[in-house]
């Protein structure tokens, strides 16, 4: 398989980079400067039969069109918002992602963000490190156990979050494309209704054209000054400028955010707010999970190029 060209769109962890390099002809597209990308593609497109993408960069229509021999897009993510799925279907290009292996870590981080936000863990750590404890006690924070949790999107990750929140005695409600009658959680037909009826709103759905800015000003207002927004899904699911102004104005109680509209840029107005917890898209960021994701990418590519069934096909 060493002559099969694989276009890598992001700086991969050493294990993944080494294995791709070992088994295929690896093109590190992320390392090519912007003004040289076009020339690079023209030179190498003939041999490129696979693209490896992630949450930041995948395969849009333009890239797909410039790779005439593209057969498979293997995503190092479960989200597919950076891949033009319709175009791939149209051209018979296979698409794979990394579901299940990252579900637990992302759900764990969602709860970690809730606790950090409501119990002011990061702020209290700053309080100790700055020496302020010697001058007086920290303030009262807000209890998490028993608070109502509303989840947008009850897929694998949404369900895993619900299960964890239940262990904290939280009543669970949700909104998704359609109700799930097998589940005992309360369904709301709109996100605004969900936000009006919960204390903590967790965004856990896929980013599509329909869900862009699904958390808008109306939803943020409904969540209100005691409400907390948690986003471990995709930045563009939330109207970020509305969110920032609501937090700055105190119209929203707090937020725990792992994803942003224009990563790695994070609105600086948020930096000074102690009711906001910010993390740099680390939802699946553990050694164990990234290894498992890498193995899925490698496994899918090897399967495809040896005409075996794909491990985790989407298209």
């Amino acid at each position: 398989m060493e002559d099969i060209g694989v276009l890598l769109r992001f700086p991969a962890m050493p294990y993944l980079d080494q294995e791709l390099d070992k088994h295929f002809k690896l093109f590190r597209f992320w390392d090519v400067s912007e003004n040289e990308k076009e020339a690079f593609l023209r030179k190498n497109s003939g041999s490129i039969r696979a693209v490896v993408g992630n949450a930041s960069a995948g395969a849009d229509a333009e890239l797909i069109d410039s790779l005439p021999n593209l057969e498979i897009v293997a995503c190092f993510s479960v989200g597919l918002d950076k891949v033009d799925l319709d175009k791939c279907k149209e051209k018979g290009i296979r698409v794979t992602n990394t579901p299940d292996v990252l579900t637990d870590d992302v759900a764990d981080l969602a709860i970690g963000l809730i606790l950090a936000t409501m119990r002011r863990i990061c702020e209290s750590d700053r309080f100790v490190r700055s020496g302020k404890w010697k001058k007086g006690d920290f303030k009262l924070t807000t209890k998490f156990t028993g608070k109502s949790v509303g989840i947008i999107g009850l897929g694998r990750i949404g369900l895993a979050i619900a299960m964890r929140a239940e262990a904290f005695g939280c009543p669970i409600s949700y909104h998704s494309r359609s109700p799930k009658p097998d589940l005992k959680y309360k369904y709301y037909p709109s996100v605004v209704e969900l936000a009006s009826n919960c204390r903590i709103l967790v965004v856990a759905c896929a980013l599509t054209e329909e869900t862009h800015h699904i958390v808008n000003q109306k939803v943020i207002d409904a969540l209100g000054p005691k409400g907390v927004l948690i986003n471990i899904a995709r930045g563009p699911l939330v109207d970020e400028s509305e969110l920032v102004s609501a937090l700055v104005d105190g119209r929203l109680g707090g937020a725990g955010l792992d994803v942003f509209e224009h990563e790695p840029v994070v609105p600086e107005e948020l930096f000074g707010l102690d009711n906001v917890v910010l993390t740099p898209h680390i939802g699946s960021g553990t050694v164990e999970t990234r290894m498992a994701m890498a193995d899925l990418v490698l496994g899918n590519l090897k399967a495809h190029f040896s005409s075996r069934p794909l491990l985790t096909p989407v298209v």
Binding site: P11, D108, I111, A116, S124
Partner: protein, 326 residues
């Protein structure tokens, strides 16, 4: 002759040596129900104050940092009730209370959930580097230096709980939902619980990846988490302490963290609060909080209600709400 003046209700006196952290919330809510004798506000030394003003006092409101010694009890001949705002009892000489016929009421399980929440929050922060990654973002390093280094997965980890009381059980319940495997050590094995039991902290540490300290501080548990236990826990090990600083040999813990002998720690309590070893301030695998695991609006509200309920029960000769065995 008819009595025109109504008999004034005697507001019962409650002695307070030094104000518990919850006192600023408690006093305003209940100042019409109880008359607080505030020893710390008097210019005269405490012993003299007690002898002069507290001879007839029947109830004492205290907290973890007031040591209730035989010496103090000797100066309170009318004392029949001690209400402590803590769940721990290491500051009260219980045998002396029993000898003197003094009932003791504690905070029961009123803030067990909040403390368990804090323990889980600290653990998630340590393993997933929430605070450290937050510092990275706020310093503007994400666009400059790229992705933050990887953390450690919580699921599948073996968690050893030291002390399986109310708080320990709440921690266990939560962590099971994250796919952790729970085992514990305690003074005695709990028949009602199916988690594997280990006789000692060192055996528990040898088996587990994570230790969560949820026990009371007693002579037996002081420095229980020592050099040998930390060594048994190992280089991948994480310690979470929401109990009392004294359960850990703090100097040894700091050394292990600085030298990479264990992987991380989440600490809400310290041996000499509010002093915290400065060596910890530069470590990204450590999360520190200022003994605030119980300090939520809800826990404080519930605690105030419980304190008042115990005091009211006592003064109306009714059974206490959260009496402890002495």
């Amino acid at each position: 002759m008819e009595n025109q003046n109504p008999v004034p209700t005697v507001i019962p006196k409650v002695l307070v040596l030094r104000p518990p952290p919850v006192f600023p919330f408690f006093e305003p809510r209940y100042s019409d129900k109880f008359q607080f004798l505030k020893a710390w506000e008097s210019p005269i030394p405490t012993e003299e104050f007690l002898e002069t003003h507290a001879a007839s006092v029947a109830a004492l409101l205290t907290c973890g940092f007031n040591r209730i010694t035989p010496d103090i009890l000797r100066r309170l001949p009318s004392l029949r009730l001690i209400v402590t705002t803590s769940a721990g009892l290491d500051h009260i000489d219980l045998p002396e209370c029993r000898r003197r016929g003094i009932a003791v009421a504690d905070a029961g399980s009123v803030f067990s959930e909040d403390v368990a929440d804090a323990a889980v929050g600290l653990l998630l922060d340590v393993l997933r580097r929430v605070s450290a990654a937050g510092r990275y973002v706020r310093a503007g390093l994400w666009p400059l230096n790229g992705d933050y280094p990887l953390g450690t997965k919580l699921g599948g980890k073996r968690v050893g709980i030291i002390g399986l009381g109310n708080i320990g059980l709440e921690v266990a319940k939560r962590l099971e939902a994250f796919g952790c495997f729970i085992s514990y050590t305690s003074r005695t094995k709990k028949a009602s619980v199916s988690f594997p039991f280990y006789q000692s902290a060192i055996e528990l540490a040898a088996y587990c990846d994570i230790l969560v300290i949820c026990c009371m501080l007693t002579d037996q548990t002081r420095h229980m988490v020592n050099k040998e236990v930390l060594k048994a826990l190992g280089k991948e090990g994480v310690v979470i302490n929401i109990a009392r600083g004294g359960v850990i040999d703090e100097k040894e813990l700091v050394r292990c963290l600085v030298e990479g002998e264990i992987a991380g720690a989440g600490l809400d309590v310290f041996e000499r609060e509010p002093e915290v070893p400065k060596e910890l301030f530069t470590l990204d695998n450590v999360v520190l909080s200022p003994h605030c695991a119980v300090l939520t609006e809800e826990a404080v509200g519930d605690l105030c209600e419980l304190l008042a309920a115990n005091l009211e029960a006592f003064f109306s000769n009714k059974p206490l709400i959260s009496q402890v065995a002495t």
